[in-house]
Symmetry: C2
Subunit: 476 residues, 2 copies
């Protein structure tokens, strides 16, 4: 493909994407295909001769699109959002076009220095602890996902606790990590990956609001210490996945300081709310955290993948993950004057991800970002009011952020049927969780283009469907 053919095909692709967003509400939000429906339309073999872009795009329309669940639809309320925006798509396109590999400062200085700068910007924008800044003891890095960030935190914590010997000796004897029963599954996965084993992961009980109970945490730590174990790590969550519960970061942080544990704080979704000063009380105590992660690819208009991860002590992270083979040696690294981000995460190679985040921060401006986040929070309030207006439905609680957990009073089976029936219409997509053995419906309200009318339509559909479904003989 020549540059001129790229101009032509690229502009068609831009129009295709613009058309897609203009028509996105016409698609069923949740793909309606069955397993194998897409596969069976794809040839068994790669083509021997090259094909034209128009043939390929015809197959995108015909074969791929029916198999898409439309995460960017304003009627997508499932899981947590993975939202996006046009400026972010453009920043990501520029990253693909430049095709640089930012493993070392030297392999593209701008890739490293822009990343460091936007991560420092976010510290100010979100009122995060000053020591997270690269100019202080800490620093930020863009990871792919909160799972990888959590794993990096676990590893740095392990090494700090073992005086940076575990990665050599493999000795993790007695180390114990703490999460709550509501912590994201990636922490459990991280504990498996790092070789600790889930037997040494304690799931601390939660209070009635599903937040980690700090008294239970301290009790368990004391008990483990008495048994000769080595407590080393706690993950606190601001906005759990099931119900957006907020763990008491300050109290947990004080316990971590008292017993010398690494505190990681996961605010993957809710972190964006820290843009709003009146929401910062949920983040109280964050200065006690050793590491912190939130995902602009969830609720900050930056397309996947973009997880922002900060540490209070960058030396701890680098000592844990650094490795320097001969073929990567270079003057800038040896002089110690630069950041080499390959020492801040699992992977060696890395893409120029800060471009899309920089595009978003500059295009929206701080003001624009605050405006959109506040709008989602207001929409959440509107949806809460709709649920409250109904006698048939109940709310789990007043949501702190943008996730509404609610259910029909007719019990678990009914709610599951209601959800499945509605999702099959393709008019919206939402998901569920189970809390205290009850099946709760989850509406996550953070898609870039969601407006009040989408929530009104959603509520109308939910209540109408609820009326058509047979009520179970006995509520469960």
């Amino acid at each position: 493909m020549t540059p001129d053919e790229f101009r032509e095909n690229g502009k068609k692709m831009i129009d295709w994407i613009a058309d897609y967003y203009e028509q996105i509400e016409k698609y069923p939000v949740l793909s309606q295909v069955q397993p194998g429906d897409i596969s069976c339309q794809l040839p068994e073999q790669a083509p021997e001769q090259g094909e034209s872009m128009s043939d390929i795009m015809a197959d995108v329309d015909r074969i791929i699109m029916p198999g898409i669940t439309h995460w960017q639809s304003p009627n997508f309320f499932a899981y947590f959002q993975s939202n996006s925006s046009f400026p972010s798509i453009l920043g990501d396109l520029l990253s693909s076009g430049l095709g640089v590999q930012g493993m070392l400062w030297a392999t593209s200085p701008a890739c490293t220095e822009l990343e460091t700068r936007v991560m420092d910007w976010l510290v100010d924008l979100m009122g995060l602890p000053e020591h997270f800044k690269s100019t202080d003891s800490g620093g930020g890095v863009i990871q792919d996902t909160a799972s990888s960030a959590a794993l990096a935190a676990l590893l740095a914590a392990r090494e700090r606790k073992t005086n940076y010997r575990s990665h050599q000796t493999g000795d993790t004897a007695g180390l114990v990590a703490y999460i709550s029963t509501q912590t994201h599954s990636s922490l459990e996965k991280g504990v498996k990956i790092m070789g600790l084993g889930t037997d040494r992961l304690r799931k601390i009980a939660v209070d009635p609001r599903f937040a980690m109970d700090p008294l239970e945490l301290e009790k368990q730590i004391v008990q483990d210490l008495a048994a000769g174990m080595k407590p080393f790590f706690v993950c606190a969550t601001i906005g759990t996945t099931s119900s957006n519960a907020v763990d008491p970061v300050r109290r947990i942080g004080e316990i971590c300081q008292k017993y010398d544990l690494w505190l990681h704080v996961d605010a993957a979704m809710a972190g964006s709310a820290a843009l709003l000063p009146d929401y910062r009380h949920y983040f109280d105590g964050l200065e006690l955290a050793d590491s912190y992660a939130f995902n602009p690819h969830k609720w900050l208009f930056t397309n996947f993948d973009c997880d922002c991860f900060w540490v209070a002590d960058k030396a701890a992270l680098i000592k844990t993950l650094s490795i320097l083979p001969e073929y990567l040696k270079n003057e800038a690294t040896e002089q110690g004057a630069v950041i080499d981000y390959r020492d801040w995460h699992i992977q060696l190679g890395r893409r120029f991800r800060s471009l899309k985040l920089w595009f978003v921060l500059r295009h929206f401006g701080a003001e624009g970002l605050r405006h959109h986040i506040r709008q989602h929070l207001e929409l959440t309030g509107e949806f809460v009011a709709m649920v409250q207006s109904s006698d048939d439905f109940e709310l789990l609680n007043q949501p702190p952020f943008n996730l509404v957990c609610f259910r029909h009073k007719a019990g678990n089976t009914f709610n599951k049927q209601l959800m499945d029936t509605i999702n099959r219409t393709g008019r919206l997509f939402f998901t569920h969780t189970v809390l205290n053995e009850q099946f709760w419906l989850r509406m996550s309200i953070g898609q870039t283009q969601t407006e009040l009318r989408h929530l009104k339509d959603a509520w109308q559909l939910i209540t109408q469907q609820a009326k058509t479904l047979p009520l179970p003989p006995e509520n469960n």
Copy 2:
């Protein structure tokens, strides 16, 4: 930004990228900036008000571009390539535009089914073992990097060896992993991450061609067994990073079978050569591998990140990495009728990466891909001939693939000076390695647009510079 503004700005971005590729040879390949040169031009704070795309792009030109090392330049011969192509950029743009999250089959069936299909295509295209296919016992998945693939292989190997108990008990007592002294550093990093510790990583000696010595491997395994250890994993490399050495996969595989070790084969760069039947002898024995990785983002015209990872037994990988919290439960998963790729890697979230690979495979066709790979191999032969024509330079060996290791006969210091001086001109960028305490220059020839004229210019520059540098008093 409205869809119409996106059309306008997007088309400008397409033109910007096309212009970039048309002018790419005018840029210094290696960025010439000093540490802090980019940072100091970026404001200390994010903007309060939103800014226009034209302001942002003006800063890209003015601030960012001088800090770019041009990986897509045909004069880029450093490290291993991270090459790209226009169809790949378009596939990646489509992925950014759709913004889907493929963690589960249900979250976008096409994202999973297309990936499975292109991974199966590659098995046929490259003559890989049939049991790597998803329709057989194995299956393929796109990982971000070969580092993550190697980590996944290490973890599955650990679990298989411990009857899938280690991720619960954390018991890795006695496990020992084997690599060669030339294996990529990501394996050592993986061993640290997984909690084994580098004390239990054996670096097996290499033969004069820098390939793992299978006799040494077996000797070490026998010795470890006698000492009560549990050998569990070997990584063999096809095309090492330093010198493109090829480990004897069949002999290593036979040893692994004899002693029940997991064999991972890393062909991150050289894997693309398997497209050519006359290069398949280097891959002999691959049917004995438990896992295999190569990177289309290195030498198959697919922009970063795209690592293809296959396992012979998908159940082993899934049992190792699977975790299913309530909020991810869905019908398709529970029926077991689908692949949920989140269980195949570290991360939970995943982008629609198969689109760019599908675009590349279809646009080039098998024929086109073979043509381009063969061309790079022929260019490598031409460069080898240039080095051989000189009395001042020597070759490390006849390169098996597309990496030439060579040096001026005037010794280590001279070669380092030669390389640094040339890289500072910006006319080309190449890097080095150290083998047997000798400093060797590396020319990796795999950038999409590299032609014979670029190699001729490179050789002319290298030989001219060598004549202007003072020879050391005594060769070292």
